[in-house]
Symmetry: C2
């Protein structure tokens, strides 16, 4: 059996001072797994934060190439984890082994993507304005700017991606790429997974000679609040509920030194079915949409939770087809018992709300989640009813029928900020409804055409973010290489001796990066 | 006499619903000027915020070149303001006409710099990952990302730069460049100036056919809080006191939808005198430093408020020379009576503090500020005494003598976040004390060598920002072209028809911008 120590990761060592233990649980059966985890004490939280602070100086001053080696070593260590690891993740989350393996590849590729970003060097944002000693009325001094990490980052693992959004997930990868040590708060739903991934990161840190404290992780309930409040922590990455994200934002704002929080929280990801598409291929869309709704038991941030169409025969026929698909779905085990309870409460609230009709889905009972379909009166949306604004995490969606284009516009205006909005349309639809796009642009982080929002490519152009409450800060993304920007800040050197400047800013451009020199982009050396 | 209407600017019109009036005051004499300003009512605050919201859609969708024309027109209108305008600014602020004219040029050049940024197009951050339909195990969809404005921005004018950090200052210029309409809260210290500059912006908006509501401005006490709390406002730019900035951050964090605040607040800008430089040119440094301390009556965010040197004969001699320079300074009129009161309170607190010695300066009396020099025991700094952490706004500075390098290091570690740190050193000093730099990098936004922090060049590489409490968010700058980044957020299009994409992302690259295409920077067209 793989060794799972169940202790905090602090400065390259393990610590288990807390007497309270938390047991890992089999998500499908509810039975205890043979893995117990010490609750981190406040002293250990402090040690972890201080370890990250100590590592910050040496780690951020490593060359980008050295940090890239570390990320690539993490990728290799993740890929070297064996079938027993996959089995443990699967038991803790009820996710099937094939999904775990796919997610692991996504996670290691994500590390490699950030290694590429580091080698490319544009994340440094190097800008140089050379001295103009003869300028009138005043000379210009030599000014050079690049970006450094903000400091230690607290990372909160997500329940629904035990690998890609957790211990070695996108927040960790982007923080480490930026030169920021991390303190991960392991998610209580997959602690053994976190422990084994933490060990993989430690092996990578050791073999690439990273400073102790570049990676730290704590276990336990309520320790996240103490972590975010600790003065050494300089930024927070979080994926989870609206309630949880708001609580962390409040703690961060009330610190003596407030810090930025990048919380990815709540999105219902509207899908807009345009008339031409419904008429031409309504049956196909119903099948595809049902697949997106129930994918991964609906436990995705980008799960389509609201489907909007214009009244008419085509939408009625589509509704019947979608009912058929969702009625026929087999029940699925959710990530944990808490998730099942939330799902039950969420669909009960929908079912009991005046103006919302249950259209399809087996009665919710037992230990698995049944897919459910509802239809809501558009007036609930127009009036801002909270049930139509907050996600129900699981395999369900809500249909909204609007009378006409004007009501469609008002319905979309009534939505809060979202991660995504999707347009399903024929080419003619997209031209005819192009007026919708500016409205959606102000509501969401990603606009999709003829696809489904589940499935988030990890690449340079991806944005997994959006206006509040989809996230706490629309200027960030938690997926894709631009995630590194969240953890960088600019620093300027004035009249600084060339030989003492950071490599990115020296005249000879030893890193070979592209720089904005006197207002023009160049990767050349500067001849002073 | 120039017409000064004294009413709010809302959606291209003027409004004076409030019965309370505020009188503009001559800064030197305290006498009332013939300009009265209606206090904005809450209804007018709402109207201004909603006007900005209405303008956001059309304004952000203008081409960057169209917004550049607007900024250039503002620059021209500012430059066309005549000597009577300069005289009014001078009367409201007690700043000499030559300074006003210099600051006006800086302000119009700042508009032109952002126009260049718009024409260059890199602020758009265009990134394209083309579809890979044959990729295994899953195809990649077409993903394209660029940045749009976050929405209406509330701008708070600063007392000390009636032009460059006020109505048409850096926050306004960068917000407008980003496509964000603004609502300016005019500073109560130069309301006639604000009115006349507001009219200049309106003329520029009219002749470049900008949407009504692209620029709005309100007058009055306490109206800023209502403005920041208004749901239409999506970000805040502020330059002022720690207390004022913290209050706005609190309001912004407690909104139903929290928004980012970029507050530039409090910095004492340490200057570190290295031994070789003191030995070689201590007398010169004393003269230069005194000039920086009293420049503009010390009313700069980057005023050097703390000077640190290592004990020894050279530092003692330097201290005597600095005493001489500061004793010989003529008193100066401050920007307003409130500033004088704050200055008197600040220097009294320093004078009365055990461990702080008054070294030079005439007794503070009358209506002008006397330059003052203090020396503080390093232990006060090491213990985190608040008097050595918060700026005294005016022509004063505090000397700190450290015993040796180790104490120098501890003293710098005890500092909070700063806009700037300055090293005065000979080439040998800079090599010998290079170990200081990583420490300073984590404390400040700009490191200067052999210069003085007053004088902030407006260019691409400048950073006027820094860790808390210098600013509320170290990731921003309020001076230089990177200020635009504060007001932009990314937006991603997935599988979107080329002809309907924003110009920046279309295959033919009609804007000719440099884009990150499949991981490589290119300004070429894409051949699909």
């Amino acid at each position: 059996m793989l060794p799972v120590l169940g202790q905090q990761f602090i400065a390259g060592a393990r610590s288990g001072l807390g007497e309270t233990r938390h047991q890992s649980v089999d998500a499908a059966s509810g039975e205890a797994l043979p893995y117990a985890f010490h609750q981190a004490t406040l002293e250990e939280v402090e040690q972890a934060a201080l370890a990250a602070k100590s590592a910050f100086g040496p780690f951020r001053q490593l060359s980008p190439a050295r940090r890239a080696e570390f990320l690539e070593a993490i990728a290799e260590e993740l890929e070297a984890l064996d079938q027993e690891f996959v089995a443990i993740v699967s038991r803790e989350t009820a996710l099937p082994p094939a999904r775990i393996q796919g997610e692991r590849l996504r996670t290691s590729n994500q590390m490699r993507l950030f290694a590429q970003v580091l080698r490319r060097g544009d994340f440094l944002g190097a800008r140089i304005d050379l001295a103009l000693p003869d300028r009138q009325p005043l000379p210009r001094v030599d000014l050079r700017q690049y970006r450094i990490g903000v400091g230690p980052v607290a990372v909160f693992g997500a329940s629904n991606f035990p690998l890609a959004f957790s211990t070695a997930g996108g927040d960790t990868a982007s923080a480490l790429a930026a030169g920021c040590p991390v303190v991960v708060k392991a998610h209580s739903g997959h602690m053994a997974t976190a422990d084994l991934v933490g060990c993989a990161i430690e092996r990578a840190a050791t073999r690439t000679s990273m400073p102790a404290g570049v990676f730290n992780m704590i276990f336990g309930q309520g320790v996240g609040a103490a972590l975010v409040a600790h003065p050494a922590i300089q930024a927070v990455g979080f994926t989870g509920s609206l309630h949880g994200g708001q609580a962390l934002c409040k703690i961060a704002a009330e610190r003596e030194q407030p810090i930025p929080v990048f919380a990815e929280m709540s999105s219902i990801n509207p899908v807009i079915l345009l008339p031409g598409a419904l008429a031409a291929r309504g049956a196909t869309i119903a099948g595809e949409l049902a697949g997106s709704v129930v994918l991964g038991a609906g436990q995705f941030c980008t799960n389509p939770g609201l489907v909007i169409g214009i009244r008419g025969a085509a939408f009625t026929a589509f509704t019947e087809q979608l009912k058929g698909h969702l009625s026929a779905q087999a029940p699925q085990t959710l990530l944990n018992a808490g998730g099942l309870l939330s799902y039950q409460n969420g669909i009960s609230a929908l079912a009991e709300c005046a103006g919302i009709t249950h259209l399809a889905g087996q009665p919710q009972q037992g230990t698995k989640a049944q897919a459910q379909l509802f239809k809501a009166d558009v007036n609930l949306l127009l009036e801002g009813h909270p049930l139509l604004q907050e996600e129900v995490f699981g395999p369900t969606t809500v249909l909204i029928e609007v009378a006409d284009d004007a009501e469609l516009k008002r319905a979309l205006q009534a939505l809060r900020g979202q991660l995504t909005a999707t347009l399903i349309g024929e080419p003619g639809d997209l031209r005819q409804y192009h007026w919708l796009v500016p409205l959606l642009e102000e509501k969401v982080g990603r606009i999709l055409v003829n696809g489904y929002p589940t499935g988030v490519e990890v690449c340079d152009a991806m944005i997994h973010g959006g206006p509040y409450p989809a996230t706490s800060d629309a200027r960030g993304t938690s997926v894709g290489s631009m995630a590194i920007d969240r953890f960088l800040r600019p620093l300027c050197y004035q009249n600084y001796p060339d030989s003492l400047l950071p490599a990115a800013l020296q005249n000879v451009n030893p890193l070979g990066v592209t720089r904005l020199v006197n207002g023009a982009w160049s990767s050349e050396s500067i001849v002073p």
